[in-house]
Amino acid sequence: MKNASNPGRSHTTRVLCAVAASAALALVSACGSDTPSGDATGGATGGATGGNAAKGPSGTITYAGNTVQVGATIDVGDRLIEMFEAAYPDIKVERVEVPNDTDTIRSTLTTEISAGAGPDVYSGDMIWPAQFAAAGLAAPLSDYLSDDYFDTFAPGLIEGATYQGKVYSAPWYTDNGHLFYRADLLEKHGLEVPKTWDELIEASNTIVAAGDAKYGYVFQAASYEGGTCSFVELLADTKAKVLNDAGDASSLDSAEGVAALELMKKLVDSGASPAAVSTFQESEATNLFAGGEAVFMRNWGGLWGTVQDEESSKVVGKVGIAPMPGVDGIGYSSTGGWGLYLNPNSENVDAAIAFIEFVTSTEAQLMTATEFAMIPTVTSARNDPAAAENNPVMAVAPDVKFISRPANTPVYPAVSEALYTNMNAAMTGSVTPADAIKAASQQIDTALSGAGL
């Protein structure tokens, strides 16, 4: 674990930061920078202490961002830091390596931050705001940034980052569930891109029966967070609701809820999907699809690059991407994505905020869209033709119907666990969909009441 070395280093950094921060604070309030400073560093001693007090925030901050690479050359974090340091020569950003697994990132951040340390700015899953806010692991960005800033984002994103009236995360990039398909095979059999599940099942069975692919439709139904993503798409499709409107009880145990799980099971029972989807995460599905063994795949749009990479894919140039199918007509796409969070322990809040603002500026968002195929979060970059160019994921975006996971509760991880473990149990056939939904619903109620594990 590379992160194990962080606390020590960031402690040294911290001392340096403390000096720099007080200088920075003084000038922000002095020259009225466009960063509303709010109660910024709270009790930090003000007073101009340095000669650089005329230039804006300065000093060193640490940034722990998840890795996005194209062709294993440069990481998006390094590229952003390079651009940022050119624009803000007084601030130095040190990139901290993070684990490559979301849950491990969360546990690393939790231990670091609750021990009073951790990176100044970190990237985190967009389902974290409620949990992190409730646990005091993230500082409210809305204390430092104005509504004008939050208005630059695409609709819906800021609501997802809000907990009890405060915004805790600046959306960095989004990603959605999509249907990847083999355009060459559909054409060969004279089939349209399926818009409904029935069409998808039929097309899968036709093409597999002809021996053109081993599997029809591969998706993620393993016992993990991604299983919840796949599941909420179908739940939205059958008009089931996970939580009631107040968000304090489960409303899953309904005919609609059972219908969603039965539909998911039907994908396997009809022969369209292999039984092994119950063990599939993103990589297993991608391996089969990129290996030319599956006709259809549900996966994140961000994997388009992998599927179109000669080194990892046998189906380059033969694939297309579309909105998810539904019960009747286009279905729902889970929204995923990452945002930037501010560590409440940060001693250089102004520099940290400047970095967050920069990463979500049109300029940086266009860079990440064009160079790293990441879907921008700010409207200006989303509407820029340069972002959509060479990015078919952006091109289908207008047709996509989005569905968020029920993440506005601090116990979301337990809610999600109830969803994916019971979904998975039903997919393996050990319980019926109706029993799985009942069990999930009870576990969600237990989680919301705080009475159980």
């Binding site: 939790t110 646990a135 005091g136 692991l137 393993a222 292999p274």
Partner: protein, 277 residues
């Protein structure tokens, strides 16, 4: 002193955490109250009861299998002459692999579609088996991976015990016309019992803390059928950020395994002792 502090602090911290209302926060942990609520939450939870049953079952089966196989391997290796060193080296390979890495290897073995084990099962008539997609076979798969990795450890400890048995005893037994089987039960086994006790205790402690194998191979699934106590504690603490109940799981697990080991040591001593007498 330093060692005591390094060992003691996390232990005491966990115990304190398990009996407090814990709040995480930017400024550190905030403890309040003295409460048994955390333990109540844990003991009343069906998830915990399942994890306890699963972990216990897993420990008993894997440790027994490793004990039997380990002793058999040790008996064979002991008879090898010059090649014993090589054999030992080979034996140590699985044991020396980091579990996360060996688990990743097993993931390929078990993978549906292209895994060797799945392929082998299709040969004997299973149609497209999904080894990790069924509770029973997933548990069995974890056990096989565990036995593969840790049998060498038991074998080597048993071997150390075997080598220390004086040759004269075997010669005397032969003169007395004792059968091989009888010799094994009356001489070999009693004389390696303390070596075996050590091996078993080490294995029980490790197996009861089962974490990395299911973490890599199944993620606790299918459903939550391979969620061990350690995984449940980890999820409770670091995914759900519920430190109080998480610490209660850790503390109760430690108590259970300690009591289990103590009980086992007594029974084992009495058993083998009575055989001797």
């Amino acid at each position: 002193m330093v060692i005591a502090a390094v060992t003691g602090f996390p232990l005491i911290f966990a115990v304190v955490m398990s009996v407090s209302n814990v709040k995480v926060g930017g400024g550190g942990f905030d403890f309040s109250g003295l409460t048994l609520d955390n333990f109540e939450i844990v003991f009343k939870s069906e998830k915990w009861r399942y994890a306890l049953a699963f972990t216990t079952f897993y420990t008993v089966v894997t440790v027994l299998a490793e004990l039997v196989l380990g002793v058999l391997i040790a008996l064979v290796v002991e008879r090898l002459g010059a090649s014993r060193g090589w054999m030992l080296g080979l034996l140590l390979i699985p044991w020396s692999l980091i579990t996360v890495i060996s688990a990743t290897l097993w993931r390929y073995v078990y993978a549906a579609g292209y895994g060797v084990a799945s392929w082998a099962l299709t040969l004997v008539g299973f149609d497209d088996p999904v080894i990790l997609g069924n509770s029973t076979s997933a548990i069995a798969a974890l056990m096989v991976a565990d036995v593969w990795k840790t049998t060498p450890f038991v074998a080597i400890i048993a071997l150390a015990g075997l080598v220390s048995i004086p040759k004269e005893l075997y010669e005397a037994a032969e003169v007395d016309g004792s059968s091989g089987w009888r010799t094994f039960w009356s001489i070999t086994l009693p004389l390696i019992r303390s070596a075996l006790l050590t091996a078993v205790l080490f294995r029980v402690l490790q197996a009861f803390g089962l974490f990395d194998l299911p973490f890599v191979l199944t993620g606790g699934g299918p459903g939550s059928s391979t969620t061990s106590l350690a995984m449940l504690g980890y999820n409770t603490m670091f995914t759900n950020l519920r430190f109080g109940p998480g610490a209660a799981i850790a503390v109760s697990t430690a108590l259970i395994v300690t009591l289990g080991c103590l009980a086992f040591t007594r029974v084992f001593r009495a058993q083998v002792g009575s055989r001797e007498g």
